[in-house]
Amino acid sequence: MIQLELAGENALILYLSAEISAQNLSQLQQLQYQIRSLLDEQLQELLPSYASLLIVLKAPHKGLLAIKTMLEQQLVLSAANTEPQGQQLTLPVYYHNAWDLDHVAQKAGLTTDQVIELHQSAEYRVYAIGFAPGFAYLGELDARLATARLKSPRAKVPKGAVAIADRQTAVYPAESPGGWNILGLCPTPLFEPDNAGTAKPLMPFVVGDKVRFQSISRDEFFALGGQLPQELC
């Protein structure tokens, strides 16, 4: 069921059922298409996440409440359980126990090899992009690997860190503070602002894409352009 709430003087937020599901992803894709055609030039931002869609309008507009009513009347939620659209992508990972691999294994009662195997055997969907440029929330992680965030976040998570929190996984596109459990490093650049205005994409994925991880060796990591953070050199 669609529910719309106010999210500011010029913004509405659309909610679906509060769950992480491919069904939500596919419905949000369809709703974005409908909203773009209904609001067109009046749209400033359209920001999807797991079960919501933030709709920011350019001011001045035809009145927020009028637009809310119009959307409530016009938007159609497809009942069909269609597969979300998305490209397939594989990200190489140099798994390493310098951070939280042992901690995750211990919590799960598994060996580190089993953790790596479980992490790379699943196919993940990009459910949302945010927190930082190019940061993709990927789900869902195998329940056996679900691990709470660190009690105290790290001041510095290295660029390319592949990490998990609860039933999510992600790659940090740049060095930043962060509280997720780090399993290894990905050498693939995930946010390339220099590509703006060129034919090359800024990010290798968009919301809806399917991502797999593949274990690589230290040599392969370097061959792919990976760089170890200073503390590991």
Partner: protein, 314 residues
Amino acid sequence: MSAFVVLKAGVVASLQDQGRFGSAHLGLTQGGPADYASYRIADLLLQNPTPSCQIEVAVGGFSLLALTDTVFCVTGGAMPLTVNGQPKSLWHTHRIKKDDVLELGFAKSGLRCYLAVAGGFKLPKDFGSNSTVLREKVGGIAGEALQQGQFLPAASVYRPLLWALPEKLWPDYSAPLELGLLPGYQQHWFDESQWQQLYSNDYQVSALYDRMGYRLQGEPLLYPPRALLSEGICYGAVQLPPDGLPIVLLNDRQTLGGYPKPGVVLARHAAALAQSQQGHQIRFYPVAPEQLEAEQRQQSRYWAELAMEFRSLV
């Protein structure tokens, strides 16, 4: 082209235009002037036809050398302004000549100034905007705050008249702030007594305030914990983390977040909040959705009337 050189970088001075829009889906935040009203008045006084790239000077201690003749103005927080050591008024446009030194002292009230020039500073844009977001390393010059020795090209535009905002219209940044709150987002998660508490609490700005957001302190507003999937956060949104102390999210907020939000502060009040510092008195009051249209009409009238109050100086 006209141009300037940064003589003193000050505490934090950053290039800002109206903000970066249409890139939230990449994880890029809005940025832009933390006090939009002062930013806009600077452009109006300079007769800049479109929102220009200006310098947001936080706290103060900033200085520029002019390499060409042009017209500039400073609006916002009360930082003492001098040109070659001679005091000049804020909220006025001034002519400046080649080799003049323009200097801003430290804010006596308010927190941020907007230093704008006729036609605006002219630099390459990132994702359609010059707005600097330090955390993202985007905008400005290489995504950084301005640094001593940097060269700042600007437009070269002739302005035959100088303009001023009459002193009676200068904002008073020391007054306690009443923030209009439009209920939204998880508004139904809060019961009557929690709403009453939110509107009756006396809050102060805590030590944690920046362009991302202002964390308030006061009586904690506690509510039963409830999981929320991360969702898009709008400018002015009020987050209530489990400690019960509200955070008003501003220009450099992260695009997604998972703390419950009772509503969103009116944009003009969020801009006023950005001029406040630790200890500033804050209260919230409710704004009904039905009041929004009247609020927007009033804002349009305010801006239309403001420009008619400008005094021509030459």
